[in-house]
Symmetry: C2
Amino acid sequence: MHFTIHHTDGHARTGELHTPHGVIRTPAFMPVGTAGTVKAMLPESVAATGADVLLGNTYHLMLRPGAERVARLGGLHKFMHWDKPILTDSGGFQVMSLAQLRKISEEGVTFQSHIDGAKYTLTPERSIEIQHLLGADITMIFDECTPFPATHEQAEDSMRLSLRWAERSKKAFERLYHPSSIIHHLLFGIVQGGIYRDLREESARELCATGFDGMAIGGLAVGEGQAAMFEVLDYTVPYLPKDKPRYLMGVGKPADIVGAVLRGVDMFDCVIPTRSGRNGQAFTWDGTVNIRNARHADDPAPLDARCACPACTHYSRAYLHHLVKSGEILGSMLMTWHNLQHYQDVMAGIRAAIEEGRLKEFAADVA
Amino acid sequence: MHFTIHHTDGHARTGELHTPHGVIRTPAFMPVGTAGTVKAMLPESVAATGADVLLGNTYHLMLRPGAERVARLGGLHKFMHWDKPILTDSGGFQVMSLAQLRKISEEGVTFQSHIDGAKYTLTPERSIEIQHLLGADITMIFDECTPFPATHEQAEDSMRLSLRWAERSKKAFERLYHPSSIIHHLLFGIVQGGIYRDLREESARELCATGFDGMAIGGLAVGEGQAAMFEVLDYTVPYLPKDKPRYLMGVGKPADIVGAVLRGVDMFDCVIPTRSGRNGQAFTWDGTVNIRNARHADDPAPLDARCACPACTHYSRAYLHHLVKSGEILGSMLMTWHNLQHYQDVMAGIRAAIEEGRLKEFAADVA
């Protein structure tokens, strides 16, 4: 099996997910390498924080530089100099949030690029092909991310369309990979259904029947709030196979992550640590810090005395404040590095706490 | 003596300049750390390119974060995590090029900050005090950078004002440093006089009489062109003491630098490698490369096969093209790193060529 569970603590578990480019320790946080780069970071630095896997965005990469081009240049790993696992999303979420003049049909989605207005079509078959061209270790099915809020009827229609696209995604995947390599390349399904328990149950049941290597939970962290999200997790996770990895897409802040791990989730991705870093917000063991705040201008203390990242080891809050206020690139670099280090430290702390059966106590410490 | 000459080749020489934070191998190129950061670079990375010394800008640092604040935080070396030598300029050049509502008098310059319009006064005494607060290893006298073009009379008046300010700068310097440390901290004079030989001679003669630890040549690379600049160097360098370092301020492209070394110059600083890098222009052994050009979009070759920097070792031109076109911070990081590496490789090549008596042949290879 590609997924091995080592320890459990309540619903939480530690494990290892095996991919063509190596092992992912779970629970895992995947930094987002949107357009072939984790913004403001060298890939060696991302690896140094302890990240085992990156997320690559099908939507961004298909528009620029183009999936066929990346394939000609040897694939995304070589292109961006990252030889550990890469999970690619299917493009569905960004098409909904970024693209212009979207038209959804049974076949797929046509849209215009937010960069230059060029027309594109994304179908389950094309999404899987793009992810294959990029060289994904973990491929996501193409689905429609159900908007929030949505009525039960809207969420039901959307979820059933996603189920039909999931079937087509799996068939496309099986056509593209040789049987001898398909056992290493993983395809994840995505449970939809909004905040409706019956729809989540139907979605999970049907996806389990089709069969995937892992199960994602989509359509959350779109405005429903942490309490509603945890409630959906509380009833959805039990519908998912115990022996397969569970991935909560697009989540979140450290407290969201540890709360989801307590509910049985194994994998996460989010732009919050990178985007917040560029905006001057740091996540620390004592909560968030807005480094732009004037009270840091003369502070010789590090951002987080418990963090071993370069930003915290070599620089004062006063210096980081100066860099961010001055719009210096090094400010984005150091703040991003710190946040990614903090996220990986939180994940390492979560894994250690699960092994020692004290995740609830650990969770109380995560600000 | 703080400056030792090891080899000569025509007018060119190699040497070592000793400062409180270590030795500078000359001829030397100093990357510019404008606002307490070499833009888009970690200081460790700057050091890894082979840079022995950085330049810090008095004007930028006095406005933000403020010289007294940097001093309270332990000085510029500690603030920006750079423990090698720092040369600070006097602020005179940036006041002329960036500040608003300048008023020059015998006393000094009053101006408004280009950042927030706040009023400041910069005098020789205040400039030296700021450089002392920053913790400069090499301090520059406060002068007026003569505009180009300037009539003989304008250039003469400006040069003589700068001579009077040089005297005041030296007195201020001697008041600030304890006699036991002043032998390590260096103060450089700046020869002015525009493109007028008699004025350059007078300026150099008077500064030599006052006595400085090194001599800079100011007021060049301001629009006069390479031929006129070399002509000024041809007649100015012989007026300078042989046993002291010579620093051509604000220069330049690799061919400008090697041409100036052939004429006897030992030190350089310039924003070209960093600024050009952020704009997508690379300096290579085969000339300049505009990585934004569409012909690089599919090119798997490195930027410069003869360069060992991370940008050239791990990435294709196609990837760099993609990053720069997409406005990704990593594009600025890698292009800057390459340019700084190339500049230091050029300087190392210059030093080796001087040692082996083949600088003219080497110079012909510098694009």
